[in-house]
Structures are given as structure tokens and as C-alpha cells.
Amino acid sequence: MNSLRSEDDSLVDFLRAHAPVDSGPPHWLEERVVARAQMKTKTVRLLVVSAVAASLLAYVGLRPKVGLEPKSDELRVFVEKSWDDMFLDEMDMEMQQALAMAGE
């Protein structure tokens, strides 16, 4: 047991004495790291702002145009009506819940 322990000690001593150690980062690395971190934060903020803006637009009834518009008028009316019904029903429910909570 003791000899195993000392074998381990010798190995660890050798590893510690000869393990590679970094000679230091290049001088530009700190600025690069900070710039990339800030960029990441800005991207996240932009995504959050976009999501909030999209929600607000949807709330006031302006929805973004989608690329695939139905070609026939009948179909377009049907799609818009279904979308409005679904959206307005949801709005009504939310309004009712908010009023109930406010004790109206």
C-alpha cells in the first residue's frame, strides 16, 4: 500500500513538474472576449425588444404580413375571419379575466 502511495506521489510530482503551463494569453484576447460578450448581450436585447414589439402590434390589432397570401378572395376572407375570430375570442377572454380580477 505504501509503495503504491509513493508510486502515485512520484507520478504526480513528475506530472506537476512537467505539465505544460500556458505562457499567457495574447494581448488582444481580453478585448475580443469583452466585445463578443457585449455583442451577445445586444443580440439578446434586440430579440427581446423584437418579441415585445411583435406582441404589442398583435395586441393593437396590427399583425405582420405573412409571405403566403391566399390567392382566391373567398379563401382570404375565410382565413382573415377565422384569424380575427380566434384572436378576438382570446382577447375577450383575457379582458373578462382582467375585469374579474379587478372586481368589476
Partner: protein, 166 residues
Amino acid sequence: MLISKNERIFRGFYRSHVSRIRSTLLRLVGAENLDDLTQEVFLKIWKGMDKVQSDQSIASWIYRVTVNVAMDHLRTNKSQKSRMTIDLDAVGKCEMEAHENKQLVLTALNNLDFDRRSVLVLHDLEQLTETEIAEMLEIPRGTVKSRLFSARKKLRSFLKESGVSL
């Protein structure tokens, strides 16, 4: 205590930990891509630094992030034969024998699979305890012990075959 996420604190964090992180990465994956991997580690640190709860958990968390980045790197570069080498410029005026021993240690580490290598590097070189490593890598302490035992056995045999008397 949460660490607030601002540039000044982040720079302080970088300056305090960059050497240790780079040395750990160097021992886990070699000198190639060291700058890129260091950036990856710090971006992950930036992303999570406001969630760290205490000073005590910072060191352990930094090691965890570093090991994960090294592991992801090796996983994505699996097809390329990983070859750990020393940057000759970094060796500078070191004696040739010392350089040979350094290269020998790197080659010996490279001969271990990542699971054993990471445990050996964290325990024998970074001097973390078995309990800390077990918590960090989310494995039982017994597994840490057995990986350390077999890693040392393999290293000892490799070094003896290479003419090193321990």
C-alpha cells in the same frame, strides 16, 4: 451573493482566471485552438455569471464550464485525430530535456480517454478533491477514484516505456 453582469466585473473576472483556464484547456486539449476555446469559456461565463450564488461555487463552476467546452470541442473534432502538441515558441529558452518531458506528459495525457484525462488533470494538476470533481462532473465519487486509478496506471506504464524512471 449574485455577481452583477457588467463589463468592469467581467474584465476583472477575465484577468483573475484566464491563466488557470488556459492551462487547464492546454492540458485537456493541447495548444491548438487555445485562443478560440478560451473565448468560448468566457462567453459561457458571461452568459451565466449572474446566476452564480457564492464565491465558493465560482471556482468549481469555472472548471465545469472549461471541461464542458473542452469536451464539446473534442466531440465536434472527433473525425480529426487529436494531437496535443506544445507551441514551440512558448517553450522559449527552456532546456531541451525539459521540453521533451513536457511533450512526453502531453502525449501521455493524450493517450488517455477524455473521462480519465479530465479527472487526472483536475485532481493531480489542478489539485481539486475527489468530492469536488464528483460534484462538478456529476458522477459518483467511486467513479472518480476508479478513473483516477486507471489513468495513473496507464500514465505510469507509458512513462516507464518511454524511459522515465519514477
